[in-house]
Every structure is written in C-alpha cells, then in structure tokens.
Amino acid sequence: MSRLRFLLAGVFFGIVLTKAEVISWYRIYEMFRFESFHMYGVIGSAVILGIIAVQVIKRFNIRDISGNPIVIQEKAKRFWPPLIGGTIFGLGWALTGACPGPIYILIGNGFMAFGVVFLAAVLGTFVYGLVMNKLPQR
C-alpha cells in the first residue's frame, strides 16, 4: 500500500502536464523557437519555487513521512556526461516533443505511437548501458 502514494502523485502529475499542454509537441517546438513564454513560465516558476522549497527543507531540517532527514542526492560533479548526454536528449526531445514523463502521459492520452517512442527510449537506455565504458565519464 505504501506505493499507492507514488501512483497517486503520478496521476496528479499526469493531469497537470496534460492540462498545461506541456505534453504537446507544438509547445516544445514553440519553446525552441522562443515564440511563447508558456513553457519558460512553467519550468521557470517550478524551479524558482523549488529553490525556495529546498532552502526551507534544509533550513528547518524537515523530515520525510518516515521521520528520516530529507537528503537530496547530489548529481556527480561531471562536465562531459551532462553536456553530451544532455545534448543527445535535447535532440530527441525536439524530435518527439516529449521528455520521459510526457511519453508516459501521452500513452495515457491515447496516442499509441508513443508506445513505440517508449520502447525506443528503453532501447536507448539499454544501449547506453552497453557502451557507457567507452564514453567520456568525467
């Protein structure tokens, strides 16, 4: 039952991203053409509020529902992986119009083509696991 809360959070997330049109290929295209504030407003306001929320959590040592201190896992301090990997993801994001969350949400919206996009993304993740030792990892 403890996992039900993650399911419900996911339902909420799926509704929000659908209602705000974040899952729309057109919105992503428009964003990369700098022709609308919409996506910048969504991501920007989420980040600004997120910075405040994280500061509050750290300042007041807020604990999670199990009573453990909230520890935010720091991403490893690397340069080439986020830059190259991020660029490859950006290429895919602009083609599909979807990052991983919206891939799931679009399937729920009935766009079955995104079942294929999902399988291709799983394949991409798998191939990364095969070749990761041959890529710059610093």
């Binding site: 399911l7 799926g14 969504v42 994280v54 529902i65 340069f79 986020p82 895919g92």
Partner: protein
Amino acid sequence: MKELITAPWPWYVAGPLITLVMVLMLLFGKSFGISSTLKTVCSIGGAGKWSDFFRFDWKSASWNLFFAAGAIIGGYIASTFMAPEQAIALNPATVASLQAYGIDNAGAEFLPRDIFNLGNLLTTQGLIFMVLGGFMVGFGTRYADGCTSGHAISGLSNLQWPSLVAVIGFFIGGLIVTHLILPGLL
C-alpha cells in the same frame, strides 16, 4: 466552474503544481526523476546479463514505476474528463511556420498526428521522429543522468552545477533540431 477544469491551465498554475510534486516526492523519501524508470524497465527485462549498469535491486526502485503508471492514468483522466474544447493557443508565428512545412491545424491536437501514428512507423520520417527520437531520449537522459524532472526541476532547485550544464545541453540539442534539422525533415 466547469470551465476551470476543462480550460487549459496557465503556466502560473502548472509550474507551482510541478514544484508540489517534487516536494511530495522528497517528503515521501524519494527524489523526483522520471528517466530512471527506463533503467528500471531494462533491469526487469534482464539487461543485467549484458551490463553491470543494470544489475541493481530494481525492487527498491519499483516505486518509480508506480509513479509512471500513475502518469499514464493521469493522462487518461485528463483527456477523458477534463479535455478542453479549444485548440492550443500557440503563437500565430509558430502556426504559420508549421503551415509552411505543410502541417495544418497546428494546435488542434497535442501533436501532428500525420507524423506520430503507427501507420507512419516504417517510413523514414516515422523512424526518425518516433524511433530515433525515442532512442536519443533514452540514451541521452541516462548518459546525462537525468531529464527535465531530475535535472531541470530537481537539480536546478538544489542549485547543482551538473544540472545547469545538462539544461544547456538540452537546449543545444533542441535548438539544433528545431532550427537546422526540422526544416529539412518536415
């Protein structure tokens, strides 16, 4: 009242609600990040036989799959019970640019269905948009160690440098495709 539910939600509603999801995940003792579900799926599928990268206790990560399953359900609920009657209010310049590429009625649906449909899968265009695009989403997010949720939202909220580098990468890739590749592809 019904209008509040069916009308599209503006950015200043959606952004704070996304922050709320991130904070909820922290309160649940986890961190907000969705691309890792793809890694979990690989592990469940037996990818550990091929690479140590996938050899981890995926049962401990299965909460993430519940979140992904919820996202699918949320998409279904929103499209079934909360769907707007109007088109997406895109910038007219955006609509005009797509029309020049032969994409009519931009914004009438969430995406250009002529491109994203299973019947188009085995064309060069379909393979590039759906298969190559999806592949790069999966490969790139794992190499970058995060996607829009893990890097742009969670990572920037925690003021992490690698996340800023990743977001710059997201835009390098997105701008290349939108401005240099799509014009020849659409």
